[in-house]
Every structure is written in C-alpha cells, then in structure tokens.
C-alpha cells in the first residue's frame, strides 16, 4: 500500500489520532501564536499610519485574515463533510464538525472588527456593506450547522446531517454573496475599498502575510484540539480512553 494512504488509515484509528493530535496541537498553537505576535508587532508598531485612514487601518491586519479564515474554514468543513458522506470516514466527520465552532469564531471576529473599523470610517457601528452582510449570513450558516449537530442524538447521524447542510451552504454561499452585492447596488450603497487604491507598499503587506500564516497555524492547532475532544467524547468508555485518563500506558495498536 502507498505509505500516505497507509498513514491516513492509521490516522483514522481513534487512539492513534488522539496521540497525533495531542502531540501536534501544542506545536501548531505555539507556532501560530509566535507568527501572529510577530505580525501584530509589525502591524501595530512598524507600519506607518495610512494617510487616509490614520491608525484605524491597523484593525484590518486582523480583520482581513479572519475574513479569509471564515470562508476558508467553511470550505474546508464542506470538503471534510463531502469525504465523510461519500466514504464514511469517521475521522472526517469529526474534523468537519470541529471546523464549525472555530470558523464561527473567526466570523465573529470579522464582524466585530469590521464594525469597530466602520465606526470611525463610516460614522456608524453597522453598515449594510455587502462584505459584512455576507459575513453575517455566514455566521448564521455556521450556527445552523452547530445547532443541527447538537440537536440530533446519534453522533454519526448528527455529523452527517450537519455535514450535508455545510455542503448545501457552500453551494449557496457564492449565490448569497452575489445576491447581496446585487441588492447593495440596487439600493445605492457604496463599497469602501479596504486598502487604498494605490498599490500597497511591500512593508505594509508583510505583516498581513504574517497574520494570515499565523491564523492558519493557529487554526490547525484549534482543529486538532477540538477534534481530539470530540473523538474522546465519542470513544468515552473504550479501554484506550480509560488507560489514557488513568495515566496507564496505552496499549500499542
């Protein structure tokens, strides 16, 4: 067998995944934190203030990566869900459902920071800007997936149903986005460009890239940790969990 396929099959075994996640989640968390701190330092102290937006554009260094993550995580969730539905791989069900709360968190950050950025820029806490409106609907989609997952008793059926909803959501998301833009143009709104028209100075882009990489790494850590928790919940009662919990050596498999 192909070593990658073999590794993937091995990863699908709950005790192995638990060890894998327990081992690598702290690394991803730590690395993500370091990179984000470096990026935040650049965004807050190195980059000069924007001549139009003043210091408030520093908010964008967390707003933009979060917005990217909110969409990326939703896509990843639907991807895992599709694999789980087609090939019935339990690990993918767990990973898909672990995506939902993290993605909802990033969506919340996007909405909150967008609103905070908007107050000095637009003079109001909320504007029906197409981007923010799409994010708001995205948050509802995330909440729907989480709600459906928690409302069904059978864990596997719950994950599959919520996964199907995630796939429907990812199909509709471009339509929602397009409809909101159309609606905005109909009602004479205007879109404010986040960054100035002129091409940005490379020194301004650099912290943004660091933040994007940092949030991705942090997300990997969060995904592994959440999936580990869900995995333990489903496996609770099995011998390997008891051995792990009581500190005895896990029997090798």
């Amino acid at each position: 067998m192909n070593p990658i396929v073999r590794w993937f099959h091995k990863l699908g075994s709950p005790p192995y995944f638990d060890r894998f996640a327990a081992r690598w989640a702290p690394w991803a968390y730590g690395l993500g934190l370091l990179v984000m701190l470096w990026g935040a330092y650049g965004a807050l102290f190195v980059v000069p203030a924007d001549y139009q937006q003043g210091d408030s554009f520093r908010i964008l260094y967390i707003h933009v990566p979060s917005a990217w993550m909110s969409l990326f995580v939703f896509g990843l969730m639907a991807f895992y869900a599709a694999i789980a539905l087609v090939w019935r791989i339990k690990l993918c069900e767990i990973l898909a459902m672990a995506c939902a709360p993290i993605g909802a968190g990033f969506t919340l950050i996007t909405l909150a920071t967008g609103s905070i950025w908007g107050k000095p820029m637009w003079g109001t806490w909320w504007d029906w800007d197409p981007r923010l409106t799409t994010e708001l609907i995205l948050l509802f989609l995330y909440l729907g997936v989480i709600g459906l997952y928690n409302a069904i008793d059978d864990r596997r059926a719950a994950a599959r149903a919520a996964g199907l909803l995630a796939i429907v959501g990812v199909v509709l998301l471009p339509v929602i986005r397009y409809s909101v833009v159309w609606w905005n143009s109909l009602h004479q709104g205007q879109t404010i460009r986040l960054f100035g028209e002129s091409s940005m100075d490379p020194s301004m882009v650099q912290p943004l890239i660091w933040m994007i990489v940092g949030t991705k790494l942090w997300f990997i850590g969060a995904l592994l940790a959440r999936a580990r928790g869900d995995n333990l919940r489903r496996e609770n009662g099995k011998a390997w969990v008891a051995a792990l919990a009581t500190g005895k050596e896990t029997p090798a498999r």
Binding site: P101, R155, A245
Partner: protein, 68 residues
C-alpha cells in the same frame, strides 16, 4: 487622527475570541478525560457487575435504542 481605542478594542476582540476557543477546547478534553477516569474508577469498584457498562451521559444514548 488617533483611533487608538478602536484599534485596542479590535485586537482585544481578536484575542478574546481565539482565547475563548483555546480554553473551551482544553476544558472539553479535560472533561472527557475526567469522565473516563470516573468510569474506570466505578468499574474498578464494581468488578462483579459484568456485562455492558451502562452509558453515563444521557446525550450519548440514542432514542432509537428504546424502540429497537
């Protein structure tokens, strides 16, 4: 133009939400391990009660088991 308050507020939100996510994960893993420990302790104290261990948490008991 000093928007310092807004910048601080935004970064605080970022840290709060990610921190909450981190703490929630840790708490959940800790809870599951505690559950498993309790279950192991219960089984160690009642070795005579053979057979299937009753599931403790109600949310893992599927309702379809009732009408199977």
């Amino acid at each position: 133009m000093s928007y310092l308050d807004y910048v601080i507020a935004a970064y605080a939100v970022f840290v709060l939400v990610l921190g909450w996510d981190f703490v929630a994960c840790r708490l959940q893993i800790g809870r599951e391990l505690r559950n498993a420990r309790r279950r192991a302790a219960r089984q160690a104290s009642h070795p005579a009660s053979a057979g299937p261990a009753p599931r403790q948490d109600p949310d893992t008991q599927s309702p379809s088991e009732l009408n199977r």
